[in-house]
């Protein structure tokens, strides 16, 4: 018999699923008492080299009462992309074989150096695109320009005023995408015209490669003068609106990526985040809490509307924001969150962080296919005993009311289908269930509950595919089999799933409320599963399967996902964005960063994320997912400064210095987005990245360290894990709780 650990790992490897409980309580009441809901993390496109591709999704006739499957007897008009059902004669649009579309939306209000770097990245990216992919370019500053790519000689673009909110219809009319009614009446075939119209802005890469390269090369900074004391006028809102409108009008329900590159916040028009007066700073958390962020609600609403439109059409939106100050990610995050797009945040386009991250968007799998999929629809089917409460992840509800939809919503609920416009192998959704059976009619023992995940998506090779994952778990009576249930607890998955719930709440609730909720959940869990004597904190024990959980919660409470102190709203949004879409491993790293220690005393070893791990003769490597920090202890730093590593006789020191670099490099090369790489040392200003993460077991308040190996004191008033645990125990055992 394998351990649950092994079982869990197997399941994850095979199905991409991790459940919080691997034995399910047989009634709703019991399930509630377990505190952590029955839920799972599901990675729909988990890479499975051996997974046979399921063939095409059968194409059904669109008439509700027909639904016949596309078959060889049907008439197909390839030009008009229409097929006629040979049973009911319904004319259906032909679905498959749509090209991938990449629409670059580029901010030109950049510093020359940044713009140059961005142009180069974009030009480079052309070579990474599949040759038959369609590519388009929109640039914006004070105005928004949609570039026509098919023209020779003269570069044409359609210009929109950056201050005016236009409807999709207006945009399509202005771009000449709507078919003039007249031509229709004349009965001329529309198709060629139609094609030509769309082709103007979205062209196959192989055809416009040169043109576009030149066009990008000639791209100028926004020519409108920026007076002293002003921000450049940046029409991000309209640019996105145009991009969404363009795709909506030309390729609805076809996989497409809008890639937005911004170097600053939207400063005019709809979606404006901050005015152009430099003396008015962009909103901070403080402003938001004081309800002092003028544009916040309006802008958020605007971008949400756009995101929803885009999601409806199956287009995802990436945001690549590179600036030292905030760029309005708080308002715009929904664009990516709802459409499955990426958000990448950096200081400048001229950094390897951006350049490599961007390059990694186009990475390929072992089949040579892009690690991206589009227009995914995830459907969850459950056996009768279960219902779906909701999902948390880069998705939107499809409002599909099936019998397995629970009335209690957790996350995005009320549906059994979600649309995930952009998917990659690591995209992971948290899915929450509810046990249906009442306490007096529990699920019979020995039965199994089943969940089926049906994921339809457009593969990057333009095929439409469907992946079905079915899992089953045993039911257990929580009264009699609580031990079993306890041991089936996947504390890692549970931590992440609870963290997602917390983050989801944090989006709409005040920070302290979320923390209180989280604490309460933790205390209840400890009460439920802890072994203790009432009112005796020292007697408190947790079983192995829960032992790490409180620690996760401790770090989660301190994490930027729930703490906004010291983070800008944009940073919070950025962190949360990634948190709710990464798989379990990455999510855990985000919650509790990994710390490795390098020394002459032995091989590299993981050490406690604790201030006590910070020692003078160690090199530490911390991975927080967003940052990679290499910290040289005081002694090491002095040696390094003295240059010992240059001396042949200290080759070992050189190797010691090199070891964490190599490990870091390995992480850097695989992670998306590329983490910020920080090389610092004792006393260095950047050491703060490390110091803010470690458990402050030693602070200026409890500095009892006079011995050698005491680590570094942290200047903070935050409670340490020890204190946290003490409180937890006290509360858990308290009879009054």
């Amino acid at each position: 018999m394998t351990t649950y650990q092994e079982f869990i790992q197997q399941n994850e490897d095979r199905d991409g699923v991790r459940f919080s409980w691997n034995l399910w309580p047989s009634s709703r009441l019991e399930a509630t008492r377990l505190v952590v809901p029955v839920s799972c993390l599901f990675t729909p496109l988990k890479e499975r080299p051996n997974l046979p591709p399921v063939q095409y999704e059968p194409v059904l006739c669109s008439r509700a009462n027909c639904k016949a499957v596309l078959n060889p007897l049907c008439q197909v008009d390839f030009r008009a992309k229409i097929w006629a059902c040979n049973f009911c004669f319904q004319r259906n649009p032909r679905g498959p074989a749509a090209p991938l579309i990449f629409l670059y939306v580029v901010d030109t209000c950049l510093e020359e150096e940044d713009l140059q770097a961005l142009k180069e990245s974009l030009q480079m990216s052309l070579s990474l695109l599949p040759p038959n992919a369609l590519v388009g370019l929109i640039t914006f500053g004070r105005m928004v320009q949609v570039h026509e790519l098919s023209c020779e000689g003269i570069a044409k673009s359609y210009v929109f005023r950056g201050t005016k909110d236009l409807t999709a219809k207006q945009i399509q009319e202005m771009l000449g995408l709507t078919k003039p009614a007249v031509t229709g009446q004349q009965g001329r075939p529309l198709a060629p015209q139609d094609a030509a119209a769309t082709c103007k802005f979205l062209q196959p890469v192989h055809r416009v490669d040169m043109n576009l390269t030149d066009l990008l090369g000639e791209l100028q900074r926004d020519p409108w003068p920026v007076p002293q004391g002003k921000r450049p006028l940046r029409s991000t809102g309209v640019a996105l609106s145009v991009a969404v409108g363009l795709l909506e009008g030309t390729f609805p329900n076809t996989g497409a990526r809008v890639m937005l590159f911004i170097g600053g916040p939207p400063t005019q028009g709809p979606g404006m985040v901050v005015g152009d007066e430099l003396k008015t700073p962009i909103r901070s958390w403080h402003d938001i809490q004081k309800d002092n962020a003028r544009h916040l609600k309006k802008a958020t609403k605007y971008y949400e509307a756009l995101a929803n439109r885009s999601a409806t059409n199956g287009h995802s939106i990436d945001i690549y924001a590179c600036a030292l100050d905030q760029t309005g990610l708080l308002e715009m995050k929904c664009l990516s969150n709802l459409t499955g797009g990426h958000i990448v945040m950096g200081d400048s386009f001229n950094t390897s962080l951006f350049k490599q991250t961007f390059q990694r968007v186009f990475s390929k799998d072992y089949n040579g296919d892009f690690r991206m999929a589009f227009g995914g629809v995830l459907e969850v089917k459950t056996s009768r005993e279960l219902k779906v409460s909701g999902a948390i992840g880069p998705c939107v509800s499809l409002n599909s009311k099936s019998p397995c939809v629970s009335e209690n919503e957790l996350g995005i609920g009320g549906t059994s289908q979600w649309k995930v416009c952009g998917l990659n192998p690591s995209t992971t959704l948290g899915i929450y269930f509810e046990v249906v059976n009442q306490h007096n009619a529990p699920v019979p023992q020995g039965g199994r509950g089943a969940v089926q995940f049906v994921t339809q998506y457009q593969h990057s090779n333009t095929q439409r595919r469907i992946r079905v994952t079915t899992i089953a778990r045993n039911w257990a009576d929580a009264q009699s089999q609580i031990q079993h249930i306890e041991s089936s607890f996947d504390q890692e998955a549970a931590a992440v799933l609870m963290a997602r719930l917390g983050v989801f709440r944090a989006e709409s609730e005040e920070g302290p409320d979320v923390l209180r909720w989280l604490d309460r959940q933790l205390i209840r869990l400890c009460q439920k599963f802890g072994q203790f004597n009432k009112d005796d904190p020292t007697s408190f024990r947790l079983s192995e399967s829960l032992s790490l959980y409180p620690q996760f919660m401790f770090h989660l409470r301190r994490s930027p996902f729930l703490q906004v102190f010291n983070n800008s709203p944009d940073e919070s949004s950025y962190y949360r964005h990634h948190f709710v879409r990464q798989d379990l491993t990455q999510s855990l790293i985000m919650i509790q960063p990994i710390l490795y220690s390098y020394s002459f005393h032995g091989p590299p070893e993981p050490v406690l994320l604790d201030s006590s791990s910070i020692l003078p003769d160690r090199i530490l490597l911390m991975d927080t997912f967003f940052q990679l920090v290499i910290y040289h202890g005081e002694t090491i730093a002095q040696w390094r400064k003295a240059g010992y590593q240059e001396m042949a006789e200290y080759e070992n020191f050189k190797q010691l210095l090199q070891a964490p670099l190599d490990d870091a490099q390995e992480i850097l090369q695989t992670r998306f987005p590329m983490p910020r790489y920080i090389d610092t040392e004792h006393g260095g200003s950047q050491a703060r990245f490390l110091l803010s993460k470690v458990n402050p077991s030693q602070t200026h308040n409890n500095l009892y360290a006079w011995g050698q190996e005491t680590g570094a004191p942290i200047l903070t008033d935050d409670v340490s894990l020890q204190v946290f645990m003490d409180h937890l125990k006290k509360l858990a055992v308290s009879s009054s709780a």
Partner: protein, 1204 residues
Amino acid sequence: MNVNQHTPMASPYGQPQPSFGQPGYAPLDGSYPAPYAPYNGPASAYQPGAPPQGPVRGPPTSGPPPVSAPQQYNQYSQSQGSMQNGPPPPTQAPPRPAVSQPYNQGAMNLSGPHPSYPQHYGPPSTMQQVTNQMTGMQITSGPPTAAGPGYAPPHSSQPPVSTGYSAAPQASYTQAPPPVSSAPTQPPPPSGPAAPQQYYSGPPPPSQQPFNSSLPPTSQQQQQFTSSVPPHPPPQQTLPPSSYSGPVPTQSQPPVPPVSQAQQSFPTPQPPFSSAPPPVSQSSFATGPPPSAPGSFPPQGPPPSSQPGSFPPPGPPLTSAPSCQYPGPMPPQQQPPPSQPSPYHSGHHPPRPQMPPTSMAQSNHLPPGPQGPAGPPGPLQQPPSQPGMQTGYPPQQNGAFGQVRGPQPGYSGPYPGQPNYGAPAPAPPAQKRLDPDAIPSPIQVIEDDKAKTTEPFTTGVRGQAPPLVTTNFQVQDQGNASPRFIRCTAYNMPCTADMAKQSQVPLAAVIKPLATLPPDEAPPLVVDHGESGPIRCNRCKAYMCPYMQFIEGGRRFQCGFCSCVTEVPPHYFQHLDHTGKRVDCYDRPELSLGSYEFLATVDYCKNNKLPPPPAFIFLIDVSYNAVKSGMVNIVCQELKTLLDCLPRENPEVESAVRVGFVTYNKVLHFYNVKSSLAQPQMMVVSDVSDMFVPLLDGFLVNVNESRQVIESLLDQIPEMFADTRETETVFGPVIQAGLEALKAADCAGKLFVFHTSLPIAEAPGKLKNREDKKLIGTDKEKSLFQPQVGFYSSLAKECVAQGCCVDLFLFPNQYVDVATLAVVPVSTGGSVYKYTYFQAQSDQERFLNDLRRDVQKLVGFDAVMRVRTSTGIRATDFFGSFYMSNTTDVELAGLDCDKAITVEFKHDDKLSEETGALMQCAVLYTSCSGQRRLRVHNMAVNCCSQLADLYRNCETDTIINYFSKYAFRGVLSNPTKAVRETLVNQCAQILACYRKNCASPSSAGQLILPECMKLLPVYLNCVLKSDVLLPGADVSLDDRAYLRQLISCMDVAESHVFFYPRLLPVMKLESGSLPVAVRDSEERLSKGGVYLLETGLHLFLWVGASVQQELLLNIFGTPSFSQIDSNVTSLPVLDNPISQALRELIYSFRAQRSRYMKLMVVKQEDRAELIFRHFLVEDKSASGGASYVDFLCHMHKEIRQLLS
């Protein structure tokens, strides 16, 4: 010509002519009948001019007038000579005398026809009138002296009148010395022409009839008219005198003959006038007719007698006749060729007077030389005519005309029109037409003025009227602005508002601030008063000028406008000499010249910031029609070279003007042509509902820096849109785009919009087709001239605020609603060019030349014009292409060298004769190099307490300029009919006032015109029958709106030739000198001739059907009339003097005008001739416009009504 006309008159043609007249008049008659009676009055008017002044002003008036008169006469004679041919000379002499007599008689010419009348009224009245006239104007008419003699005889033979007249006239003539002299020379022509002019009498005829009917006196009056005109007639007619009037009454009048005389008489009156134009003509007439007249007279004599009897009958018929008569007159005009007699005859002819007339005619004809023969026939005819007369008094008129023409067989031939006339002619046998030659001739006046102007015109003398715009002269600035910059309607302003009101003479100035000066005149000097800016009066802010009086040793100066005393700033101080003038007076332009410029300081700039150089933006329609017509290609090709010719102040330096390009159909395409680009970039703006400029840097560029990119762009534009299927266009957003671009660049500038169609695409300023011909003539007609939507007015306002001037080039294939599209150009000081049915091949030349000129011409931007005046008058109204946000500042987004602004002044207090009236026009503008400047024009005119002085120093061309602008603006708010009536009324009041207050007493039947205004009726008639006020069926609404706005910014020279086109006989062309022009009447065209007609907008080469092969060969390179290609727009380059001279002539015509005139070759009797005929403004127009003769009659009637 006149002669010719006369001759024809004499000949049978006359009859046909009548028909002409009739039709036209008919309508008029209805209303006019009564007027006729009044006409007599007018007749007197003529005289008055002379007479009244005669005594009092005698010296002055006579002085000047005579001069002119003589000249005019001379001219006439000359012209006639040339035109008409020799014949006249001999005859002329006689005519003139006649003229003198005629006056009274002239009037009588009419009477002629109306012999009967004469009897009734005529005789006595005529006599008196005659005398009066004689004494007065007629005397002047004297010039005809020569004629006098001629006539004299007849006269003498006839009653005393003749003698009297003769005497008087002679005297006057003598005074007129020039006239006299001229007379001799002129004789021939004068007789002819003069007579016609006097035609006034002509009109009278018709009126007369009514008169007769209505008033017995009328008849007299009529006679007077005639009489006044027909000095000649007088002699004969004494009887006729009445007859003159007779023309109307005519019938009755023996005067008929007088009629002819009448014409003459006109001349006579003129003489007095100063030879008021009419007189002059009269004299000439007289001359012309006289000779013949004599002969005729005698006959007349009899007729009259007989007539008397007839009269009664005529009386009744008269009424009817009137109408007929009108027609009659009309014919005369047509007959004009026969002009001399015709008019007279017209009126009179029919009557026995015809005889005389005929004779007259003959005389005229005679002059014509060729006609010589005709002459004889004339006489012959006379006899017959006489009979006719009796019988047909009523018919006489017509007959007369007809006869007249008849005489000129040759001519008649040529006139295609004649045949037509012929038909009618018969009906109105009684014609009382005025002889077109007897009424004031524009040509005569123009030629007289040319002859008179020998020395440079110096502006130092206050109140001195400059030479006419048709005269070439040099100007020396001696303290007042050159007439090239400012022309006034009156150089003697009435001192009081009452006087002004009484006279009804508009007090206005036509100002062309940036007028181009001929190379031999220095442009205004630039004055820099340093950092503190130009020195100005503290109170009224007038700029330093010669009217500032320095006092207290030069420490202060007193403003000539408001009398306020201002300290002289230390840096400007200068001592005074013993006369009180600053010793540096002549070193400083602002103290010694009428026009100069100040450098403006930042205080005179927007936002207190010196302006950047202006920009030119080219906005090109690339819709289907634009591409297909070739316009897009042409513009793009041309711009490549044209961009090197952007305006610059210093030819050495490259132009500071930046350029930008936009193309558009339903959407707009902006182009980035930044020099650093390898290829231009096109930026499409589809959001036309909310226009903006998509780019800043790279849109407006320096031509030299971006040359390659620009050329590449201009090469590609036609290609890019070659296959366009877009037919819809926008317009409002196009201008908005240009405006926004200028705003973004923070500079002033000019938009060149090349547009083809009605903007029906969904956008601001969208228009619908509202061309509704049914509204024409209704009270709602005005709405057609009003903009369809308010959008463009507010847009224009924005443009003006930014200094954005819009020039619009239209290439319509159908209705485009010029009335609306032109709102912005007109309000921003821009121009509208229209090329209907544009075709690359035939219209390219005209368009390109217009474009080149428009791009290159001197232009100022973001201008504000302010006219300051001395206390007592005030600028109250402004006409032109500009915008006004208050009542004083004329704001011009752009002001180019072709734009004129007409300013009207009103009294708000009394003026003093001592100080005169001062005006200072200051224009603040940004030059093409971006320099801010102030151009100042000063003008001082005299003030008078006597009306006569006013009438003696006014300028008809300028008055017409004012009237036309006033009327063309009036159609926006009033029915065109009301506008026409207003004009006629005001004109009648002006003339009536003159008659009443300035002319010596005379019979009411006489039409007496002030010398300076003798062309007022003919010119006014041209305004009245312009396409705007009286459109023909084929005139589109767009054309009318186009012309309407065109007139609004014309200067005097342009409006003059526009309303009275220049018609040159090409066959008399000799290198080095221009042939004397011909009057704009079909009758003046010889079938064997080739004529060049220009209006400032059109250029026609009319080829007679029987032109000599040699001439055709020389001009067209083909000997056959039928092989002439009437589609050519340029003449073949042939190596012979005629061809060379003609092409040079055409070249020089084009060079004179602000718009390029496309040459149209019109073959006689070709279909295109209809268009050409439209410009023969002395004839009755197809749209129902009166002929000159008819209108004169009508005017006379109006005047008489006012006087009675």
